[in-house]
Amino acid sequence: MKTLFALPDFNWGVLLPFLILAFTGIFGLLVLLVNPKANSKVIRTVTISGGLVALVSQFALFGGEYRSMGDMVMKTNPGMIGEVLILISLVVVVLISKPYLERTASDSPEFYPLLCWAALGGMIMCSSDNLLCIFVGLELLSISLYVLAGLNKRSKFSQEAALKYFLLGAFATGFFLYGIAFLYGASGNLSLDGFSTAPLHSGTDNRPLFYLSFALIMVGIGFKCGLVPFHQWIPDVYSGAPTNVVAFMATGAKVGPFIALYNIIMAVPTMSAIAVPICVALSILSMVVGNVMAFSQRDVKKILAYSSMVNAGYMLIYLAGLMKGHMAGAFPFGYFLLGYVFATLGVFVILAQISGRDASPITLQSLRGLSQRSPGLAALLVIFVLSQIGIGPVAGFVAKLIFVNGLIEANQSWMAIVLLANSAFAAFYYLKILKAAYSSEEEGAAIQFENGIESKIALAVCTVGVVGSVIFYSPIYHFITAR
């Protein structure tokens, strides 16, 4: 038997999560094709089970490093942690979507396949160090999210969010691509290894090209991560887009860019002379601006949006420390993401359960009296918000602890202090959320809850993630870093 093309090595086991996710989405479409009037129940079930199967197949991969399809697919830590997080947030978001979408009368069956593919894009970003692949994954993620942001076609908020997200996102893509172009021009290489060969290139001195390409790529990735000069979209989009979509946007969709950011920054040690100042400046800007802006917000989703910027700042400053300190930072980074994802997801799960049918932004006012009407929900909100602040035996705290420890071991105490000072400041506006939830309902808005069993499962998953990842830190660590 002859072969027609010289195909690269297929490692099907490694590709399995991708394939499962891709075909889950396609299957959803096929269901629609066969029966256009099908309600979304079948598709939702398929999506959940597809996500779970992909999760299992992803878990089977832990404990090794894999490459497949030439250098296109590369599964290492913390990319694999990121992929697991993406899948978990996918499943959780699908779990909470039904009551929310039905309430806001935007229950379109296209939602589920698009969400699947967005997750697929994020996973591809996590597991490649080829910029072409990262770009394609990024676009798969972004384009799906552009559509999802406009999911509620009756809501002007939703449509406006979609348009803003789209225009600014495409703009950032342009910068990202130009960065890749310069990297390619300087090294003839689309892979991130191109950075590591920076000054070694023979002939002319290509360093300006490398610097420029790094800066431009940071612009593009920084936009997706929500670093500060490129953050304008986040608050508006978070506030306007449907809450369940934002739940994914803030968690699963952030993971891919963050892991890509990690890979990029880990790839540029030879250029740390320029990379470190850029990273430090961006991260400090993100933290300060995020904190200051969040302080005066009354819209809960906007507060969370700014807090996501602050978290991005933490991660970036840690990466800057890593660049100076030359230490292995994969697991702490993944763990921080884990804490961030679970806590944020938890808050959004709660918000999705209490947001009203008119799809307007959720203000602090509408949280009032939560502890009176559903004390359990309020108690869980406390746990998630505490994790965001970094108090108590929750993932957020341990993650911050690891970061601080890592920074101090890298001899960058001042970075640790900057990080902590900002998280102290951040406590104020997080507490405002708790304050609203625990103050009594004097003139509070009437909120109806429609809790299905699925929402309860979603809450349980988030709680277990936030608390369990602390209690079982050691087993998790050994499971993930085992070689």
Binding site: P375, L386, K400, I408, L434
Partner: protein
């Protein structure tokens, strides 16, 4: 001891019970309170038993339990208890029981008692954790129930108060995190493994020279810890959260009695053993802060308009005494501080409990609306008098022993000039003691004598209330007359803590960081070891 993890049970039983109560929205009237008092009683019995073990005096930690948590960073779930912690836990359990008994929340009582139990559990965690990270976790976590209780059941501008409470304390404690990380990374350098285990770290400090050649780091870490504890205590520039919290928290008793003591307890537990050099160098600074607190609190207490605020400033003043004693760094001062730490818990709580009885009768807070209570409420006024006397440090009450020992220690340190201390501070502190008599008596006079207001028609305490108040009065007198029980059981511990500071020229690694300027100053200042003071 046996393999039963008493301490873990002690920590987690209230927390889990509390969470359970918080999640169950609807229970019959009285059931939450009953459950909560059962749990609190159980913890009181257990802590009592544990404390009894330490009556004979023991410097070490018993009931240790260690579980791996984050092994690659040397973090473990490590609990254990020594004599000082045992007494503090006993105080916690006692005050928690009292708080459960006297609280009558108007709504959501299940949640209220749940949060109260959570607070109790986290306080147990603070007192018994021997791992820095675990300590930090509980330290932060203890903020949350208080804040939520203020939010849900407090009075006044509760949102602002709760925000200020959590944010101030949280900000203060973050520096402690830096300090911990510095400790761990030094341990990594010295020992090859990072660790957050307090005992291990202490061993490294004592034997392996954890701080060798790293004076700035030690100073940074020391102040990281100290800032957290000073804010918690609180000392003067960072005291603003205290008064509001006192006034608006529904459980001022527990806050006053235990929560504040976490600060000074942390100094005993961590600052003294882990940063010996820094303690010596910065002792004058801390003592000065303490004296400033004494005077500031005393003076401002006189002009306050509500009993709650008077007590708030008096607390600042008393914490000043603890600091002065503690950072005399000699036996007498530290004994005094340790005693005062326990005693003030009882004394302040007694006043607050009594004030809460009064608050049930009238919404009036202002002293100008009170007056002439002596006639209508004789039992109340008697009990209040006793509580007040211990606060002003009259002999035969607990307050006297604590303040006196602290001042003696400070005087001795100042007289010998040890650690750069000076006698002038002692004089100022003693003046503060006189001030305390002034504001306390003034308070008593305004409340119970003076112009007769409508408040004079109140009913006296019920039997239930009398029993609770009486318990406090008896405790106060017992502490004043028989202080030796407490002091004896703590003495070995204090001896062990004070040892590094009395052997300045010893060969211990901590005292000989070669070549640093700080060390040179250290050696020149601590000229002579301070002799032990026999207890009265």
């Amino acid at each position: 001891m046996s393999s039963v993890p008493y301490l873990s049970i002690l920590i987690w039983l209230p927390i889990l019970a509390g969470l359970g109560l918080a999640f169950i929205p609807k229970l019959g009237a009285g059931i939450p309170k009953g459950l909560a008092s059962l749990v609190a009683l159980a913890t009181l019995i257990v802590t009592g038993t544990i404390t009894a073990l330490f009556l004979t005096g023991d410097a070490g930690f018993s009931l240790q339990q260690q579980l791996n948590w984050i092994p690659n960073m040397g973090i473990s779930y490590f609990v254990g208890v020594d004599s000082m912690a045992a007494w503090m836990m006993l105080l916690t359990a006692f005050l928690a029981l009292i708080a459960v008994l006297i609280s009558k929340p108007k709504e959501r009582d299940a949640q209220f008692f749940g949060l109260l139990l959570c607070l109790e559990g986290t306080l147990f965690g603070i007192f018994s954790s021997l791992d820095l990270v675990l300590f930090y976790v509980f330290f932060e976590l203890s903020l949350v129930p208080v804040a939520l209780m203020i939010l849900g059941w407090g009075s006044g501008d509760k949102g602002k108060v709760a925000l200020r409470y959590v944010a101030t304390l949280f900000a203060g404690s973050l520096l402690m995190l830096v300090g911990m990380a510095i400790l761990a990374s030094r341990a990594n350098v010295v020992d090859g493994l990072p660790t957050f285990n307090a005992l291990k770290l202490q061993e490294l400090v004592d034997t392996k020279g954890l701080w060798a050649n790293s004076w700035p780091l030690q100073a940074l870490a020391f102040w990281g810890f100290m800032v957290a504890f000073l804010v918690k205590s609180p000392v003067v520039p960072m005291h603003r959260w205290l008064n509001d919290t006192y006034e608006d928290a529904p459980i001022g008793a527990v806050v006053a009695g235990v929560v504040l003591k976490v600060g000074t307890f942390g100094m005993f537990r961590f600052c003294l053993p882990l940063f010996p050099d820094a303690c010596r160098v910065y002792a004058p600074v801390v003592v000065a802060l303490g004296v400033v607190g004494i005077l500031y609190g005393g003076i401002l207490a006189i002009i306050q308009k509500t009993p709650g605020r008077v007590m708030g400033f008096s607390t600042i003043s008393h914490v000043g005494f603890i600091l002065v004693g503690l950072f005399s760094l000699n036996h007498a001062g530290m004994m005094g501080a340790a005693f005062q730490q326990f005693n003030h818990g009882i004394a302040a709580a007694a006043v607050f409990v009594l004030l809460s009885f009064l608050a049930e009768r009238t919404p009036a807070k202002n002293l100008s609306e009170l007056g002439g209570l002596k006639k209508s409420m004789p039992i109340f006024s008697t009990l209040f008098l006793i509580a007040m006397l211990t606060n002003l440090g009259l002999p035969f009450t607990g307050g006297f022993i604590g303040e006196f020992l602290s001042l003696v220690g400070a005087y001795m340190a100042g007289f010998t000039g040890a650690n750069g201390l000076s006698v002038i501070w002692v004089y100022l502190a003693a003046f503060g003691a006189i001030l305390s008599a002034g504001y306390m008596l003034y308070l008593y006079q305004r409340m119970f004598y003076g112009k007769k207001q409508e408040t004079a028609e109140f009913k006296d305490l019920t039997l239930h209330e009398t029993l609770i108040g009486g318990t406090f009065a008896i405790l106060i007198l017992v502490l004043g007359i028989l202080p030796m029980t407490l002091l004896h059981s703590m003495e070995p511990k204090i001896d062990a803590l004070g040892r590094p500071f009395q052997m300045t020229h010893s060969a211990s690694g901590s005292a000989a960081p070669a070549g640093s300027g700080a060390t040179a100053r250290l050696v020149s200042n601590s000229s002579a070891p301070v002799g032990e003071v026999k207890l009265p």
